[in-house]
C-alpha cells in the first residue's frame, strides 16, 4: 500500500504540473449503484455466478476521456471493487507514444458450500482420519460433519504495454509485461488403488499459479515492407507441484499426486513482409523458436497394492525429470493479383516439436508395473512431431460481384506415436460467393478432406488371446483414415427497408473408413438464423434461432476379466473372436440435439427514456443408444436417456432515464432459470460405496447441482461531465 500511495503522489505531481501547462478537455461519466440477487430454492448458485459477480453490494463504474492538444488519456473502470472488476487506462502522445495499463479480474466459480472429508483445503496437505484397518479402512461417512469449502478460481490479469514510434519514422519499439495470477481451489480426481475399481477421491487441491511474461519487439513497418524481431520470456510458477492426501484404500497412508510443473519459456520470432512486388504481390514470412524447460524431482516411491501404507520405491535412472521442449516454426505466404480478376495465394508452414527431455527409465516393481505384465521396465515416450503444410488458393472474380474460390491444402505430419507415425491430409474446396443482387449475398462452400495415415499396429499381439492383439483394430479418430465432406451455405439479405436477415447452414460428415474399433463416423447438421429490424434512432429488434443435430457412431469391444477363457477364446479379436457375455462387440450412437432462440430490443420511449430487453432460451438434449450386433441372449444395456440435458431461460430488462443533461438513472431486472439433467449425475451422493469399505469414493458435490433460479435487480446513477 505504501508503494501504491507513493506512486499516486508522484504521478499526481507530474500530472498536475503538466495539466497546468495546457488546455485540457475532460469528458466522461461516473456511475454508482447497487445490485442484489435472490436465489431462493437454489442449492448451489455457481452456474449463475460462474463468470459474474452478482453478490449483493455496490457497483461503481468510471469512464473518462482526457484530451490535450497532443496527448490523450482514456480511463475506464467497471465493477470497481468487485471480484469481476475491469480497469483499462490508455494514453499517449500523438505521433510518438502509446501506452496501456489494465487489470482484468476473472472469476470462475465452480461450486459454493461444497463438502469434503479432508481438512487442509487450500493447502497442499489434505488429511482425513481413517477408521478401521485394511479392507475396512474408511473415512467418516457422516457428510454433515465434513468440511465446507468453495470451489473456483480467481484470476487477476495485470498488464502494461508501450509502443514508441516517432512520427514519420517507420521504426518502432514495443514492450509488454503481463502477470496472470490464479488463486483458488480446483477438484482433482485420484484413484484410490493402482488398478481400477477401487474407488476414487475428489481432492480439493490449492491453485496458486503465476504466469509472468515480458516481451519486446523492435521493427520496421512501412507501406512497402515490414520486419519485426520479437523476444518474450514467460515464467510459470506453481506453488503446489505436489499435494499429499490421505488414501483410505492404502490403510490411511499419505499418498501424493503431482501437478503442473513450474516452467520457463523463451521465444524468439522474426517476421517480415515485402509488399508491392510484381503482380501486386506480397511475400510474408515468419520464423519462431521456442524453448520450454522445467526441472522436477521425481517422486521416490508409490503405494503398493498390498493394501498397506508401505511405499515402494520406483527406481529410475535419474533423480530429476528435466523437461525441455523445443518448437521451431516457419511460414511463408505469397499473395498476388496477376490480373484484375484473379487473386492467388501460395503458402508453406513448417512446425516442429522436439522433445529433448530427460530419458527416464523406471525399472518396474512387480506391484507397480507400467505395461501389461508385471515387473516390466517402463520408459516414457518422448513425443516429437513435425508438420509440413502447403497449399494454394485461387480467387476468380466474375462480372457482377461474383467470385469463385478454389483451394487445395496438404498436410504431412510425422510423429513418434505408437499407433500412427505419419498422417497425410489432402483438402480441396470450392466456394462461390455473390452479392450480385443489391439486397442479398450468398456464399456456398464445399470441402472434401481425405486423410490417410500409416498404421503401425497391424501386427500387434502374438495371437487373439494376447491383450495387445486388440490394438490391430483400434483406430484413434484424431489420426485415423477419414473422408470428410463439408457443405456450408450462408445467406445475408436486406429483404425490406430496415430488415436484415441472415442464415448459415453446415452439413459435415466424417467417415472413418478403416476403423473397426473406435469412432466410425460423425455427422453435424447445423442451422443458424438471425434477423435485425429497426431504426437506430427509434427502436430495434434483433433475434436469432439455432438448431444443431450432432451424432457420433462408434464400435467397441468389451472383454470382461481381462484375459480370454477356454469358453471364449480369441476374445481380443473383434472380427473372428467369440461373441458372448464375456467378450462382445457393441455399437454406441451418441445423439445431441441443441436448440436456442433469443430476441432483444432497444426502444427510445421518449427523449428521456430508453428501454432494452432481451430474452434467450436454450435447450440441449443428448442420448446414447447401444446395440450388440450378432449377439443374442445378453441382457440389453440400458440406453443413456440424458446426456448433459440443459434448459436455460434468461430475461433482462433495463431502463435508462435521463433525469437531467448530466444525470442518468438506470434500473435493471433479470430473471434466469437453469435446469440440468444427466444420467451420470442423477441421485447424486457424496459417498459411493464399493465392494469393501476402503473402496468407497468420497465426492464433494462439485458440479452436481447447477440448477438455479435467480432474480436480479440493480440500480445506478450516472453523472456525466464535460
Amino acid at each position: 500500500m505504501k508503494a501504491k500511495t507513493l506512486a499516486v503522489a508522484v504521478a499526481s505531481l507530474f500530472a498536475a504540473t503538466a495539466m497546468a501547462q495546457e488546455a485540457v478537455t475532460v469528458n466522461g461519466s461516473v456511475s454508482v449503484g447497487g445490485i442484489t440477487s435472490d436465489t431462493t430454492d437454489t442449492k448451489d448458485e455457481f452456474k449463475l455466478q460462474e463468470y459474474r459477480d452478482l453478490k449483493d453490494g455496490g457497483i461503481a463504474d468510471v469512464n473518462v476521456e482526457i484530451r490535450g492538444a497532443r496527448q490523450w488519456l482514456d480511463i475506464f473502470g467497471e465493477n470497481i471493487g468487485r471480484r469481476d472488476q475491469y480497469m483499462d487506462i490508455r494514453g499517449g502522445y500523438y505521433g510518438l507514444f502509446r501506452g496501456r495499463l489494465y487489470l482484468n479480474d476473472i472469476i470462475h466459480n465452480e461450486g459454493f458450500n461444497l463438502i469434503t472429508p479432508y481438512s487442509g483445503v487450500g493447502t497442499n496437505a489434505l488429511r482425513a482420519p481413517v477408521t478401521g484397518t485394511g479392507a475396512n479402512g474408511t473415512f467418516n461417512t457422516n457428510v454433515g460433519t465434513w468440511n465446507p469449502f468453495n470451489l473456483g478460481i480467481d484470476r487477476r490479469h495485470l498488464g502494461a504495454s508501450a509502443d514508441v514510434r516517432p512520427a514519420s519514422s517507420p521504426f518502432y519499439v514495443s514492450v509488454e509485461a503481463t502477470e496472470q495470477k490464479r488463486e483458488g481451489v480446483r477438484i482433482q480426481g485420484a484413484a484410490n488403488g493402482t488398478s481400477p475399481g477401487n474407488g476414487f477421491q475428489e481432492l480439493p487441491i490449492p491453485i496458486d499459479y503465476v504466469t509472468r511474461v515480458v516481451a519486446g519487439e523492435a521493427g520496421y513497418s512501412s507501406r512497402d515492407m515490414h520486419f519485426a524481431l520479437n523476444v518474450s520470456k514467460s515464467k510459470f510458477t506453481n506453488d503446489n507441484e505436489r499435494v499429499t492426501w490421505t488414501n483410505p484404500y492404502f490403510g490411511g497412508g499419505v499418498d501424493t499426486s503431482t501437478y503442473s510443473p513450474s516452467s520457463d519459456q523463451t521465444k524468439w520470432s522474426l517476421n517480415g513482409l515485402f509488399k508491392r512486388l510484381p503482380w501486386d504481390s506480397q511475400l510474408a514470412g515468419r520464423f519462431t523458436h521456442t524453448k520450454l524447460t522445467d526441472d522436477v524431482p521425481l517422486l521416490a516411491g508409490v503405494f503398493n497394492t498390498g493394501n498397506t501404507s508401505t511405499i515402494l520405491p520406483t527406481p529410475a535412472n535419474v533423480t530429476n525429470f528435466s523437461g525441455e521442449n523445443v518448437w521451431t516454426t516457419g511460414s511463408l505466404a505469397l499473395t498476388s493479383r496477376p490480373t484484375r480478376v484473379i487473386d492467388t495465394k501460395f503458402y508453406y508452414n513448417y512446425y516442429k516439436k522436439e522433445n529433448k527431455s530427460s530419458e527416464v527409465v523406471f525399472t518396474g516393481q512387480p506391484t507397480d508395473s507400467c505395461g501389461a505384465g508385471s515387473g516390466t521396465i517402463c520408459e516414457p515416450d518422448r513425443f516429437d512431431y513435425t508438420k509440413k503444410n502447403w497449399g494454394a488458393e485461387l480467387w476468380y472474380r466474375f462480372a457482377g460481384h461474383t467470385k469463385a474460390i478454389a483451394g487445395f491444402d496438404y498436410v504431412d505430419l510425422d510423429r513418434n506415436r505408437v499407433d500412427f507415425d505419419n498422417t497425410k491430409d489432402k483438402k480441396g474446396y470450392l466456394e462461390l460467393r455473390t452479392d450480385a443482387w443489391e439486397t442479398a449475398a450468398i456464399r456456398v462452400r464445399y470441402q472434401r478432406l481425405q486423410r490417410r495415415s500409416h498404421f503401425l499396429e497391424g501386427e500387434a499381439g502374438d495371437n487373439a488371446n494376447d491383450p495387445e492383439f486388440i490394438n490391430r483394430f483400434v483406430r484413434r479418430f484424431d489420426a485415423s483414415n477419414v473422408d470428410q465432406d463439408l457443405l456450408k451455405i450462408a445467406v445475408d439479405a436486406s429483404i425490406m427497408p430496415l430488415l436484415d436477415v441472415g442464415a448459415e447452414a453446415y452439413f459435415k460428415h466424417n467417415k472413418y473408413k478403416d476403423t473397426i474399433l473406435g469412432r466410425t463416423k460423425d455427422d453435424r447438421q447445423e442451422l443458424y438464423v438471425s434477423a435485425a429490424y429497426g431504426d437506430v434512432q427509434a427502436w430495434r429488434i434483433n433475434a436469432f434461432a439455432d438448431a444443431e443435430y450432432i451424432r457420433y457412431d462408434s464400435t467397441h469391444r468389451t472383454i470382461n476379466g481381462g484375459t480370454c477363457t477356454a469358453a471364449a477364446p480369441n476374445c481380443f479379436d473383434p472380427i473372428g473372436g467369440t461373441q458372448s457375455a464375456f467378450s462382445f462387440n457393441w455399437d454406441g450412437k451418441v445423439k445431441e440435439r441443441n436448440y436456442a432462440a433469443g430476441i432483444a430490443g432497444d426502444w427510445m420511449v421518449g427523449p428521456r427514456i430508453k428501454l432494452n430487453a432481451a430474452y434467450t432460451y436454450q435447450k440441449t438434449e443428448g442420448t446414447v443408444d447401444f446395440s450388440f450386433p450378432g449377439l443374442t441372449g445378453l441382457t440389453p444395456l440400458v440406453n443413456i436417456p440424458n446426456v448433459d440435458d440443459v434448459k436455460i431461460h434468461t430475461f433482462s430488462l433495463k431502463a435508462v432515464y435521463k433525469a437531467t443533461p448530466a444525470i442518468d438513472l438506470t434500473g435493471g431486472y433479470a430473471y434466469e432459470k437453469y435446469e440440468f439433467k444427466d444420467s451420470a449425475w442423477d441421485n447424486y451422493a457424496n459417498v459411493v460405496t464399493g465392494g469393501t469399505p476402503n473402496q468407497r469414493s468420497y465426492l464433494t458435490g462439485a458440479y452436481a447441482f447447477p440448477d438455479y433460479k435467480a432474480n436480479i435487480l440493480y440500480v445506478m446513477v450516472t453523472y456525466r461531465f464535460h
Binding site: G81, G197, A596, Y703
Partner: protein
C-alpha cells in the same frame, strides 16, 4: 467489500495519474479550426469525428491534420458548390456499398497501410472474404458507450444479463460468424459474452499467417498463453493433447463441461479400447445408486481417476495412466 472498493479506486487513480504524469509534460500545440464547412450540413458526423482520435489535429497522422474530411471523403469543393447531396460533386462515402471492399479498405490503408497491426491484412482471410474496415469499425461513433478502436455499435444482443457496460467485440464478430455466436452462448464457454475475454485475445482480425488468424503459430501455443499449467514439459505426455487441444475441446463453447466436444466417457472411448474398463459399455443404469454406482460412469467418469489427462510427472504406472 469496502476495502476492496477503496483499493480498486485507489489503484485506478494511481494508474491513471501515473500515465498522465509520465506523458503529459510536453508543451501543447494550438488546435487549428475544424471542418466548419462540412459541419454546416453534417453537424452530428463532424462533431463525432472531432471527438475521436481521428479528429485530433495535433496528431500528425490524423485525418484532422491531413485535410480533415477530405482525407477520407475526397475534395468536397464541388460538392459544396453544388449545394450537397449524396455523391454530388464527386464526394465519396467510404462506407458506400457501391465501392468494393478493397476500395473501402483502401481509403483507410492510405494512412494505416504502414501500421504494424495491419501488416498482414493482405494475407488474412478477412480481406479475401470481402470484409472491409467499415464492416467492423465506425469512424463517426455517435455513442456514449466505451468503444475502443471505434468498433461499430452492434444491434441489441440477445444474451443473458451481463455486468459490463462496454461494447464487446463479440457483438461485432458474431454478426457474420453465426456458428460462433451459437457456441459462445452454450452452457460451457469461455467468458466472452460476460466481457472478460475478447475475440481478439485469440484471433487477429487484421490478418495473420496462422490458420483461423490465431495469434500464435498453433492452437496449443495460443491456449498455453492463458493455460500455462497445461504446457508442461511432461514426463508422460498424452500425444493428442500435445498435438492439438481442439481434438477434445471446442474453444468457443460446448454443451459439455470443460468445453469438451463430447461427453466423457464417450470421448475417451472413441480412442481407447482394451481389456477391462476402456472397452466396457457404460449404460444409463450405472449412475449413482440405486443405479449400479459404476465409478467409470458416474459424475466425471474417466477423470474421476485419470485426472492428469494433459500430462504428468508422476512416476511409473501412476504417470503412464495419468493417475497422479
Amino acid at each position: 467489500m469496502k476495502i476492496r472498493i477503496l483499493g480498486g479506486i485507489h489503484a485506478l487513480l494511481g494508474m491513471s495519474a501515473l500515465v498522465a504524469g509520465l506523458f503529459w509534460s510536453v508543451d501543447a500545440a494550438a488546435a487549428p479550426p475544424g471542418a466548419e464547412e462540412c459541419k454546416g450540413c453534417h453537424e452530428s458526423y463532424v462533431t463525432a469525428f472531432q471527438a475521436t482520435k481521428h479528429g485530433a489535429k495535433a496528431n500528425p497522422h490524423s485525418p484532422a491534420a491531413n485535410g480533415e474530411c477530405a482525407a477520407c471523403h475526397g475534395d468536397g469543393t464541388e460538392h459544396v458548390k453544388a449545394g450537397g447531396g449524396k455523391g454530388v460533386g464527386g464526394i465519396r462515402n467510404p462506407a458506400s456499398k457501391s465501392l468494393s471492399a478493397d476500395e473501402r479498405s483502401g481509403i483507410c490503408l492510405t494512412c494505416h497501410g504502414g501500421d504494424k497491426h495491419l501488416a498482414f491484412w493482405d494475407s488474412g482471410r478477412h480481406r479475401k472474404n470481402e470484409v472491409s474496415c467499415n464492416n467492423c469499425h465506425t469512424i463517426h461513433p455517435v455513442t456514449d458507450q466505451k468503444v475502443y478502436a471505434q468498433l461499430r455499435k452492434g444491434d441489441p444482443v440477445p444474451t443473458p444479463m451481463r455486468t459490463t457496460t462496454r461494447q464487446l467485440e463479440f457483438e461485432i464478430c458474431t454478426t457474420c460468424h453465426k456458428q460462433v455466436r451459437a457456441q459462445i452462448g452454450k452452457p460451457s464457454h469461455h467468458p466472452i459474452i460476460e466481457g472478460k475475454l475478447n475475440c481478439s485475445d485469440c484471433h487477429n482480425p487484421h490478418g495473420a499467417l496462422s490458420h483461423a488468424m490465431v495469434k500464435n503459430e498453433s492452437v496449443n501455443d495460443l491456449c498455453y498463453t492463458c493455460h500455462a499449467d497445461k504446457r508442461g514439459p511432461w514426463m508422460y505426455e498424452h500425444p493428442p493433447v500435445e498435438e492439438n487441444c481442439l481434438t477434445c475441446h471446442n474453444s468457443h463453447g460446448s454443451i459439455h463441461k470443460r468445453l469438451l466436444n463430447e461427453k466423457i466417457p464417450n470421448l475417451c472411448q472413441d480412442c481407447h479400447d482394451w481389456s477391462r474398463h476402456p472397452g466396457t459399455a457404460y449404460g444409463g443404469n450405472q449412475g449413482f445408486p440405486p443405479g449400479l454406482g459404476n465409478t467409470r460412469f458416474l459424475a466425471r467418469a474417466c477423470v474421476n481417476c485419470h485426472q492428469q489427462i494433459h500430462g504428468t510427472n508422476a512416476p511409473a504406472s501412476k504417470g503412464q495412466r495419468f493417475l497422479r
